[in-house]
Every structure is written in structure tokens, then in C-alpha cells.
């Protein structure tokens, strides 16, 4: 039973209309760009996407947005995307804005088999509407917390730097971000990697995502790795 799929089309073969999908990445950093492009080509519709951001107008999840493939977006920050704002304000797309830490922790909760977690983020704000608020004394301080539920995603699609045929993944620098917590959380987890290697080539002490979480893995055909804000200093 090999986890290797021969290409991105095979990896997303059963991602159908109406699926709930987690996408790793922060901004355009560490996004599964090959898989996103394939989902655009496949034309699946009515997707619920869980991702910290929504890409930019012509890259990342912005490509799915342009084709109106996203029914609902669950994200923490969507500021860099004019088409997103248009679809949201016009009501064409449903949007659930979630604090970034809550987003990450709801992924983690799913990956750790915890149905719900408590966080102080959003207490007293509109994020708390309709949610259970509970007081806990933690480290000697009494404080209110929101109960937030683990995400329930059909697929997690992540991008790693290196992966082996057992599904073990290693991320590079801040391209790690949401990828490990989402990889743990998907019912089916698809990993696209820059370098697919043989078992034994990755140091067991340095694996970020143990292979048990990864169901399908492939080496991406091409990684553009676009930079959103190129900031440099002179030599």
C-alpha cells in the first residue's frame, strides 16, 4: 500500500464538489500551489476552505476564488485580496473569520483527537457570539475562555520541503506555519513536496509530520513560491 501518487491529479482524484479542505500556508508562503492549480483545473465547486489567508487575486486560493469554486471561507486574515472582499461583501461567498490562534488550535485539536478547546481569544467580541463562555482559574488567574470546536475537514492539503515515501514530512523555515497542524487534522491528508526521498534519508529526530498522518504524497511539478512582500536592505 504505497502512499505515493504519480501526480497531482491522482492526489486530488476524490476531492469532489462540496468538500471541506484545509490548505496549509501563511500568505503565499508554504501553500500547496500544485494542488490548488489542479483543483482549479478540475473545476470542483462549493468548497469550504480552511486556510489562514485567501491568497492574492491571481495566486494561491485567489485562483479558486476567481472561478467561484469556494462556497465558504474560514480564515483569519483576508486583507490582500480585492476579489475576496467583493465576494464577501456582496454575499456571494460565506466567510467565517476566526482568530489566527483559534484557527491553528482548532486544527491541532482535530489532529490530537480533542473535540473542543478553550481559548481566551475573542471573549467579549463578536467572535464569542453564540459560543459557550467558561471561567477557569489557570496559573492563579481567573479568566473567561471560549469553547471552540475541532475542525472536521475531509481533506488537508499541505506543502512540505522534503518528504519520504512513508509520508514523513520536513518543512523549511516559515513555510512550516499551518502545514503540520493541518496535516494532522485531515481525514485524508495530501502532501506535495519539493523533494521526495527514500525512507531513511530523513533523520527520524527531525521529522515535523510523522508519516502516519499523510495518506498521499507526491513531488510537485513546479513551485513558483511567489513572494508577497519583497522587503530587502542594501548591502
Amino acid at each position: 500500500m504505497s502512499k505515493i501518487v504519480k501526480n497531482v491529479e491522482e492526489a486530488i482524484r476524490d476531492v469532489n464538489d462540496g468538500a471541506t479542505i484545509m490548505f496549509g500556508g501563511f500568505g503565499l508562503c508554504g501553500i500547496p500551489e500544485n494542488s490548488i492549480a489542479a483543483l482549479v483545473r478540475k473545476g470542483v465547486k462549493g468548497l469550504t476552505c480552511i486556510s489562514n489567508n485567501a491568497g492574492v487575486d491571481n495566486f494561491g486560493l485567489g485562483l479558486l476564488l476567481q472561478k467561484h469554486q469556494i462556497k465558504k471561507m474560514i480564515a483569519s486574515y483576508v486583507g490582500e485580496n480585492a476579489e475576496f472582499e467583493r465576494q464577501m461583501l456582496s454575499g456571494e461567498m460565506e466567510v467565517e473569520l476566526v482568530p489566527q490562534g483559534t484557527l491553528a488550535t482548532r486544527c491541532m485539536a482535530a489532529g490530537y483527537g480533542m473535540p473542543a478547546i478553550f481559548t481566551p481569544a475573542g471573549v467579549g467580541t463578536e467572535v464569542a457570539q453564540g459560543k459557550e463562555v467558561r471561567k477557569f482559574t489557570f496559573n492563579g488567574v481567573e479568566k473567561e475562555y471560549l469553547m471552540e470546536y475541532a475542525f472536521d475537514a475531509d481533506f488537508a492539503i499541505v506543502k512540505a520541503w522534503k518528504g519520504d515515501t512513508e509520508g514523513n514530512l520536513i518543512y523549511r523555515a516559515t513555510a512550516r506555519n499551518f502545514n503540520p497542524v493541518m496535516a494532522m487534522a485531515g481525514k485524508i491528508t495530501i502532501a506535495e513536496v519539493e523533494h521526495l526521498v527514500q525512507p531513511g534519508e530523513l533523520d527520524p529526530d527531525h521529522i515535523h509530520t510523522p508519516g502516519i498522518y499523510v495518506h498521499r504524497i507526491f513531488q510537485g511539478e513546479k513551485f513558483e513560491k511567489r513572494i508577497e512582500q519583497r522587503t530587502v536592505r542594501k548591502k
Partner: protein, 218 residues
């Protein structure tokens, strides 16, 4: 009146040796440029860095190395990388000593609004709600009044909140103020700014007792 860099310079004086500090987008980011020599500070970027360094040299930028503002950055020796759940775990667990962020409004109770203007702009809260709900020490860096000339220091916030009763200190182009049970307490004035000017620019209760010293910046 201070410019943005002046505000950042003043806030940099709040940073102490050994601190772990999270800097928000905008003016807070500038604070990194003014941290005094000889003070060892570790910058946290909530996308998963401890030990964030300066922007890369031209031609050395790398798409895999960005900060929470999506800008290309570098790592300093002794840095570490971690996932988003760990990042906000350390924020919730109050391991980050100081958080500096911007705001649209702050109330005299310490409430903050910073992420949404109904019907107009909804960028999302990003990590701000997590940061303000958890940080033990938060400084807001902002202009005292908005572009329409209205005070951003209010008795009550009018915009959707980011967090309640969480802001301790505010540094604006005019003044340093603490949030106290009695209202905004004026601690320091920017060079050339009078108590009267701050009063006029502050819609919430302002407490200005005794002789208010001028800010020390350099």
C-alpha cells in the same frame, strides 16, 4: 508631535533586556530599529519565528523566510521555527513578555478595536485577538486621532472589538498614557505638545495630574 519613527523610538524604551517581544504590523515593526544597544531582545513573529532578524540583503530574499506581515526576513543565530499552533500556544501561555500593536480605537476601560469597519473594511483579525486576550503586557502604538480628525481614545469603542480590558499603555504622536480605573492617565508629553492639546484630542476621560514630563526619546 512625533512622527511614526518617534513613536517607535519611545516604545523601544519599554523594551528590557531578555524580553521576548511580538511586534505588530505598521509602527510596531519600526520599534525593532530603535532597541537600545546592549539589550538582548528576541522578536517573535506569530507565523512561527523566535529570533527574527532584519530584512535580507538584496538578492538574498527567500520565499520561505517571511514574517507575520508577509515580508521577507532573516533569522538571527539562536533562532527557532515552529508551527502556528505552537506559536499561539506560547502567546496564550504568556511566554511572550511584551506585545506592541496598532489600533483604530482604544477605550478608557482598555478595550481595543482594530480589525473591522462594518460595511467598509473587513480584513480579518489575524492574530490580534489571540495576542490581546493573552498578553500580559500590551502597548498600543497609534495616532491619537484618525484621518477624519476624531479621537481614537474613547470612553467606549464604537467599532467591533478586538479584545476587552486588555490594553495597559498607549503611545501616540502626542503622549504616553496608561489605562487606569479612573481613565486615560497622561504620563508623558511629546516635545512641543501641551496638556491642553492632548485633552482636546482625547474623547475619553483624561487624567492629567501635576507636572507632566516630556518624553525621553534618544
Amino acid at each position: 508631535m512625533l512622527d511614526k519613527n518617534g513613536i517607535a523610538k519611545r516604545i523601544a524604551r519599554e523594551v528590557k533586556d531578555g524580553m521576548y517581544v511580538n511586534l505588530g504590523i505598521g509602527i510596531p515593526t519600526l520599534v525593532a530599529n530603535y532597541i537600545p544597544e546592549g539589550i538582548h531582545v528576541t522578536l517573535q513573529s506569530e507565523n512561527g519565528i523566535l529570533g527574527m532578524g532584519p530584512f535580507p540583503f538584496e538578492g538574498e530574499e527567500d520565499a520561505d523566510f517571511i514574517n507575520a506581515g508577509k515580508q521577507t526576513v532573516t533569522l538571527l543565530p539562536g533562532s527557532s521555527i515552529f508551527d502556528s499552533a505552537t506559536s499561539f500556544g506560547m502567546i496564550r501561555a504568556q511566554k511572550v513578555d511584551l506585545t506592541i500593536l496598532g489600533a483604530m480605537e482604544v477605550s478608557e476601560q482598555g478595550d481595543i478595536a482594530s480589525w473591522k469597519i462594518p460595511g467598509k473594511m473587513v480584513k480579518g483579525m489575524g492574530g490580534a485577538m489571540d495576542l490581546v486576550a493573552s498578553a500580559k503586557n500590551i502597548i498600543v502604538a497609534m495616532q491619537h486621532v484618525n484621518k477624519a480628525g476624531e479621537s481614537k481614545l474613547l470612553s467606549k469603542c464604537t467599532l467591533p472589538l478586538t479584545g476587552v480590558k486588555c490594553i495597559k499603555r498607549i503611545v501616540t504622536e502626542m503622549a504616553v498614557l496608561d489605562v487606569t480605573p479612573q481613565g486615560f492617565k497622561l504620563l508623558e508629553l511629546a516635545p512641543g505638545v501641551s496638556v491642553e492639546q492632548v485633552k482636546n484630542a482625547t474623547a475619553g476621560r483624561l487624567i492629567a495630574e501635576g507636572n507632566i514630563p516630556e518624553m525621553k526619546i534618544d
